[in-house]
């Protein structure tokens, strides 16, 4: 077979899908944790941007991708710290603060990048992949799934780790109680503010990591507004996943395929306006929301700041 459906093409498509899915996965898992604990984290797009920028800067100057991931996660945590302070501790409106953080970081990262690199967009060198023996020899999916950077496998492992935390640990119970009935958690002797803060900071770390992956591995460079709505897609994924990390994984892969198709179709020069092609992932969101949105069940106290003794 040749043309659009050659083995090479399919493999590249799938590879692209995974690359596009990882940031969405990390963002979705992070958002899921915040939402479980009752915090609607609209600022996640800003956390991803901070992660993308700081992750790129870290990797660019140190030459180490891993250090880049670390600074990226740190950037996400820094933004999350502001969010936790304003929304969890002081109890300001989560939606307003979330939007403000996202807008603020869009501007800030663009500005800092401009100061630093002016109008040039330096690239990182290509990433090293970890090849998994045997599996990577399978046609089509082998090269796509099993020749990825180590962090990809770690992100997938995280899905199962999260599932374990939610279902099998005391921390999982605490998170769910913080989102469904914070007063009950409080009178059980667990600090609701602290529990939610931990959740928001974890979200920041995961979103930051997702942003760093997007810049350093996905694109190999930083450009302003690089996340392009990935954080918001993460919010959609978290809402549709009904608290289950595996569903975030499935959803992320689905969106990843759409995003990858968009690129592939542009490359293949199919005769459809690019604007239409670029709408594909967002069309997928709409379809998903129509199909499954009704079943999305959100924690009862989502978005409501907790104040002890208030009623």
């Amino acid at each position: 077979m040749t043309g659009l459906f050659s083995e090479v093409f399919l493999s590249a498509l799938l590879f692209g899908a995974v690359t596009a899915a990882i940031p969405l996965l990390l963002a979705g898992l992070g958002e899921q944790m915040s939402e479980k604990a009752g915090v609607l984290n609209i600022g996640i797009e800003g956390m991803m941007l901070a992660g993308a920028y700081l992750g790129f800067v870290g990797a660019f100057y140190s030459g180490s991708l891993w250090l880049g991931f670390l600074t990226g996660a740190g950037g996400g945590v820094a933004v999350a710290l502001v969010m936790a302070l304003l929304c969890v501790r002081i109890g300001l409106n989560q939606i307003v603060i979330g939007i403000a953080l996202t807008l603020g970081l869009e501007g800030l990262t663009a500005l800092l990048h401009h100061f630093q690199f002016s109008r040039s967009y330096p690239r990182l060198r290509a990433v090293d992949v970890t090849v998994i023996p045997l599996l990577s020899d399978i046609p089509v999916i082998g090269p796509a799934l099993f020749r990825q950077h180590l962090i990809v496998y770690l992100a997938v492992a995280l899905v199962f780790a999260m599932g374990y935390i939610y279902r099998r640990t005391q921390l999982g119970l605490n998170l769910q109680a913080a989102g469904d009935k914070p007063a009950a958690l409080d009178v059980a002797g667990i600090d609701v503010v602290r529990t939610r803060t931990v959740a928001v900071l974890t979200t920041g770390a995961l979103a930051g990591l997702g942003g760093a992956y997007l810049a350093n591995v996905g694109a190999g460079l930083f450009i302003p507004f690089i996340t392009n709505g990935a954080g918001f897609l993460g919010i959609v994924l978290a809402m549709l996943a009904r608290g289950r990390p595996v569903w975030v994984l499935f959803g992320a892969l689905l969106f990843g395929v759409c995003l990858s198709l968009t690129t592939a179709m542009q490359v293949a020069g199919i005769n459809i306006p690019t604007d239409v092609i670029q709408m594909l992932p967002f069309l997928a969101v709409m379809v998903m929301l129509v199909l499954f949105g009704r079943r999305a069940s959100l924690p009862a106290a989502l978005g409501i700041p907790y104040e002890r003794g208030a009623r």
Binding site: L173, A177, A184
Partner: protein, 516 residues
Amino acid sequence: MSVAKRDIVALEGVTKRFPGVVANDSVDLEIRPGEVHVLLGENGAGKSTLIGMLSGLQQPDEGRILVDGEPTAITSPRHALALGIGTVFQHMMLVPTLTVAENLLLGGPWWQRPKTEELEARVAEITRTLGITVKLHAKVSELSLGEQQQVEILRAMVRNSRLLILDESTSMLTPKGIDELGALMRRLVEQGLAIVFITHKLKEAAAFGDRISVLKLGRKVGEIPPERFRALGEQAIISEIVELMFGKQKDDPEAAERPVRTIRAEAAPLLEVRDLAVAPTDDAPGLSSISFDICPGELLGIAGIDGNGQKHLAEALAGQRATVGGSVRLQGTPIEALSVGERRQKGLRYLTDDRLGEGTVGTFPVSINFFLKQVGAAPFWRKGVEQRAEIDKRAAQLVREYDVRTPSLKTPVARLSGGNIQKVLLARELAEGAKVVIFNKPTYGLDLSNTLASRQRIRDTAARGLAVLLISTDLEELLSMCDRIAVISNGSLVGTVENADDARTKVGRLMIGLAA
């Protein structure tokens, strides 16, 4: 015991203010080991606020709390638990989406795996001595409110508290459950625990207490110490309490004479229910072939142990729960296919027992909560615009009529005391156009004068020619009000008795599974 007992906890001149109210005004209280300290007072008297300060939810504005004689600021619920103060709160403090076991495990160190086996053993030990059964692996949302209350009491026990606080913990229990709780409290204080017991039922206070304190409008207005308590008989205690609380003397205030109503036998039933069925869920029996009629002016009671399908019955009639068969006719017209709103329009009203959950929107002002079910309708809304003046005018009227104690019409309804929230609900459901009214535990959590007033309102409702279905676990209440009493057990009606002299024994026999 002759050993001088020292206070576990003492309050000295404790004052707590909220915007618009002084909830506690310089209250002194001694809580001793080996004593059941009963706290009485009308709705809004400040009982729960006092408990909130002992449990670390709130801090006093003035005064101090002594624990073991040491002035102690109880800074958080965790601190309270560490001091050995375990509380069963008036409003449910369970996470509905978690199982009973998970709720009991809440509070353990976060890095650990929940110790389920340990808990199961501990619970088995406690439930054996209590004689109750608890579905450890059922989701809390699937339990009846009575079962949830048992779980909360169990939780306080699991924690080994030295001071156990029960804020209206008998409101959802059956008479048998209440007696068992009383016996349990006795055993616990004999082991040296201290108990604070809040109730609105004076008989419980007299039967289970050692010491009684009475609050009124935030102030402590009287105390009966153990020596006096023991010297007085039940009747003497009750009349002394009534005097302290209301300043007037009455023998047994709850024993109101049931007025003999004449129901026109020839009148067609207002509500006819035939073979109503609801599918069982994992943890509830569902309903099977429920049939009854209620004539205009008639009060039909549903007695039964909580969790036998009462809630399903009320919800199925109101249209909130899907049925799998049967018919419901209101004034002859079938309504089983109609929606909740359409049934309401036709004159069917349902007063839920879940005041804060489905009954009201806690953050909305009192005024709006009166008209929640009329949102968008004239005269309170015109062309989608809220008519503030109209709403406030009517709301002020209802507040006066139903004696709702609220700082203002704009106060969020959740800030009111439990009893006052109930009055808002009553006022809303009994307003214009009602023909058939379903009451589910209408007086739970109300103080004596409010209970009596509510019962009178329900009687008046029937006297106006409405059909009333009264679901209650309080047999006294049913006997004092109903024309007939049906008994529900495991989702079906096992018998209906006329409320004559022998009704008490007949209903009692039906409830425990014997033929009347």
